[in-house]
């Protein structure tokens, strides 16, 4: 009995020591403070994404872009002389699975490089705050900026709306310079953020008037009611804030009901596969984006493609590859800054995010994370407007990246107002 008790005690003690050793802070031989996920020759970054399930294609593309950027950093010697490695955990786009993935890996990574899904992000927000681990959220939802230790690596959605409607007012308003706007939105946190941004524009710009608002359930199969509402109100431009699979039926049903306004949507509201189905209907759709296209010839693109081919040969051209690359650029910049501060602990990376500036080499607007309140952590307010090549479905920019005065004035508190 005594022997058994002693054995159990040894095992428990060993487990506790092991656990503490994993999470405990130490100083490496180069004088850098390290804890979870950092050894003398390696830094591990977690990528928690839906590699299987409904967003699998995008998740895999995003991770390929991330790994490609790490490959570039590793080719230049890594960070602090350590090789950067990603640790992928499949969340199946399910918040409950994301929680499991987090728990299983948090003691073995220095930061979360990708966490997809607003629900998963909110579900994990308390643990992320408690564990003091920097988390790059794979979303453009502005609300997550308010969460402790959570950072966006793209322009938040409200800026898409504000900048987009400003462009629409200049391009699509009648002779009196006034624009009647309608908004069709997915009736959840994502869509309501877009609707609130439309309301913000109408409240602050006397030339823009919201004449109709219509929400829809994400599982809706018929949009007659929403389209009729816009038509009846005489909307000249309609902002669609939803996912791409719903943009197609909205535009299609509008055409069947003889309603042909100008349409605007966010990047997540469009995908090139809509082109064969929608054809000429796309002539009236403009898409607001915050990164360049995979097909564009910016100088950094060759480097992206070359590294993607190295780490994930055969990856199809996908916009999310670029998002993954930009995302990893933020992670690398944060780790380099933490290295300079001689603190590569999870806490050290959080500290490095404060006041961080990231150059994306023209792949997206450069990103800046302030040192003040949550509003200062809005990394960019720039977007651009694109039209669509009807044959290929590929976007073509009609403006450069830029922001408006109204977007510069927008605060997170404005997004909460409805």
């Amino acid at each position: 009995m005594k022997t058994r008790f002693a054995c159990i005690s040894v095992v428990v003690a060993a487990a506790l020591v092991g656990g503490c050793a994993n999470a405990g802070t130490s100083t490496s031989k180069d004088g850098v403070r390290v804890d979870a996920g950092v050894t003398d020759d390696q830094i591990k970054i977690g990528l928690f994404n839906g590699y299987t399930g409904p967003v699998a294609a995008g998740a895999i593309a995003g991770a390929a872009g991330f790994d490609a950027r790490l490959a570039k950093a590793n080719a230049a010697g890594g960070v602090c002389g350590r090789k950067l490695t990603s640790v992928r955990a499949d969340t199946k786009y399910d918040p409950a699975v994301a929680v499991q993935a987090y728990r299983a890996n948090v003691k073995d990574i220095v930061m979360i490089g990708q966490l997809l899904g607003a629900t998963s992000i909110y579900g994990l927000s308390q643990q992320i705050a408690r564990d003091d681990i920097a988390t790059l959220a794979a979303t453009s939802a502005a609300e997550v900026i308010k969460l402790e230790n959570v950072y966006l690596f793209t322009t938040p959605f409200p800026m898409y709306v504000i900048n987009g409607l400003d462009w629409a007012k200049k391009e699509q308003a009648g002779s009196d310079g006034k624009l009647k706007v309608g908004v069709i939105y997915q009736d959840d946190a994502f869509g309501q953020e877009g609707r609130n941004a439309v309301r913000f524009v109408a409240k602050n710009d006397p030339d823009v008037k919201v004449v109709a608002e219509a929400g829809y359930d994400v599982k809706a199969e018929d949009f007659t009611a929403q389209v009729l509402k816009m038509k009846k109100a005489g909307a000249e431009s309609v902002w669609i804030h939803g996912i791409a699979s719903k943009t197609a039926p909205i535009l299609s049903q509008a055409s069947q009901l003889d309603f042909a306004p100008q349409w605007l949507t966010v990047d997540s509201g469009y995908e090139s596969s809509l082109a064969p189905q929608l054809g000429r209907l796309l002539d009236k759709l403009h898409v607001v984006t915050s990164s360049v296209l995979y097909t564009e010839n910016v100088p950094a693109m060759a480097e992206v493609k070359q590294n993607v081919e190295k780490v994930a040969p055969g990856t199809k051209p996908d916009q999310l590859v670029i998002a993954g690359w930009v995302d990893a650029s933020v992670a690398v910049a944060a780790l380099e800054k933490a290295c300079k501060e001689k603190d590569l602990t999870q806490k050290g990376v959080v500290a490095a995010m404060s006041g961080l500036t990231v150059t994306t080499d023209g792949l997206s607007p450069d990103l800046e994370y302030g040192t003040g309140d949550a509003d200062s952590r809005i990394p960019s307010r720039e977007t651009r407007v694109n039209q669509i090549d009807v044959k290929s479905g590929v976007l073509a920019p009609v403006t450069g990246f830029g922001t408006t005065d109204l977007a510069s004035r927008w605060k997170l508190a404005d997004g909460a107002q409805s």
């Binding site: 409904p54 359930d217 007659t224 009611a225 929403q226 299609s252 049903q253 069947q256 009901l257």
Partner: protein, 291 residues
């Protein structure tokens, strides 16, 4: 008034799709007592097959899908579910759920996870104008074909020996067996008809303005309230339930959208009401048991 008529037409078109899906569930349930959770996947697979073959001709696509789905449904019944005869309901439900998961995985492997084309075919994108109401040809096709299919099913059940056998089997298994009806054959035919109905539902669910995508499984599961409203074992109930759900969803989104997402839950509210007031559904009948 035009607004109301427009919404009513769209609601009826959507309702017909739910009715077709519901009929598929009911066919299997009546003949074998199995609630086939894999039926929505049959609907999705049908749509993918038709969408893949539309470039070679819509008719070919539908024909191939009909053959494939009838065969798939019969194979599932013969190879998997027949072997589970006598097992607990839990085992049978798990088996159909397993089939559903497998089917979704196979579609993801074969066609990927992104939306893929449409089953549009000859339905086209045009509209038929009647006064101030625009009737999309897709909707006209859906309602017309659904009515024809329902009429054919009705005649089959009422006027043919095979239909009579199916009805007898559904009413009382033991009595049907005593009359010499081959229950295995009855179940095979029922599953085959469910496969055919899945093709019709899949074609309409994936036609303009919608697209063929993995989300179709969730949409097809939207027929569940229709089944409860109409009554699980009733073919007429599936039709009335399907139409009710379609109309509630579309008219609700037209007139009640201002009150939050209340229109989304309307079918479920109706379902709860029916369960409370008439638990066997509008057209179902309560089976008395002698104890």
């Amino acid at each position: 008034m035009d607004n109301f008529l427009q919404l009513t037409f769209q609601g009826m078109a959507l309702g017909c799709v739910y009715a077709l899906i519901g009929l598929g569930f009911v066919m299997v349930f009546k003949s074998s007592g199995v609630f086939n959770f894999a039926h929505p996947v049959f609907v999705m697979i049908s749509a993918y097959i038709v969408a893949a073959l539309v470039p070679h001709g819509f008719g070919w696509g539908v024909l191939v899908a009909l053959v494939c789905m009838a065969a798939l449904a019969i194979v599932c019944e013969k190879i998997i579910l027949r072997r589970l005869a006598g097992r607990s309901l839990y085992v049978v439900i798990m088996a159909t759920l397993g089939l559903s998961v497998m089917g979704q995985a196979v579609v993801a492997m074969a066609w990927g996870v992104n939306p893929r084309g449409s089953t549009e075919g000859p339905m086209g994108r045009g509209v038929l104008r009647v006064g101030g109401v625009a009737l999309p040809w897709t909707g006209v096709w859906i309602i017309t074909v659904s009515l024809v299919l329902l009429a054919v099913l009705y005649l089959f059940f009422q006027r043919t020996r095979y239909g009579l056998a199916l009805r007898a089997a559904a009413d009382h298994h033991e009595a049907a067996l005593a009359q010499g009806i081959n229950m295995r054959w009855v179940q095979t035919i029922s599953w085959g008809i469910a496969g055919v109905l899945a093709v019709a539902a899949g074609v309409f669910l994936g036609a303009f303005p919608r697209r063929v995508s993995p989300d179709m499984v969730d949409t097809a599961l939207g027929a569940l309230p229709a089944l409860v409203i109409g009554g699980f074992g009733s073919l007429a109930g599936a039709v009335v339930g399907g139409m009710s759900v379609g109309l509630l969803l579309v008219l609700g989104s037209g007139y009640l959208a201002e009150y939050g997402g209340v229109h989304v839950v309307l079918p479920y509210v109706a379902m709860l009401l029916v369960l409370t007031l008439r638990p066997s559904g509008l057209f179902g009948h309560h089976e008395a048991e002698r104890i």
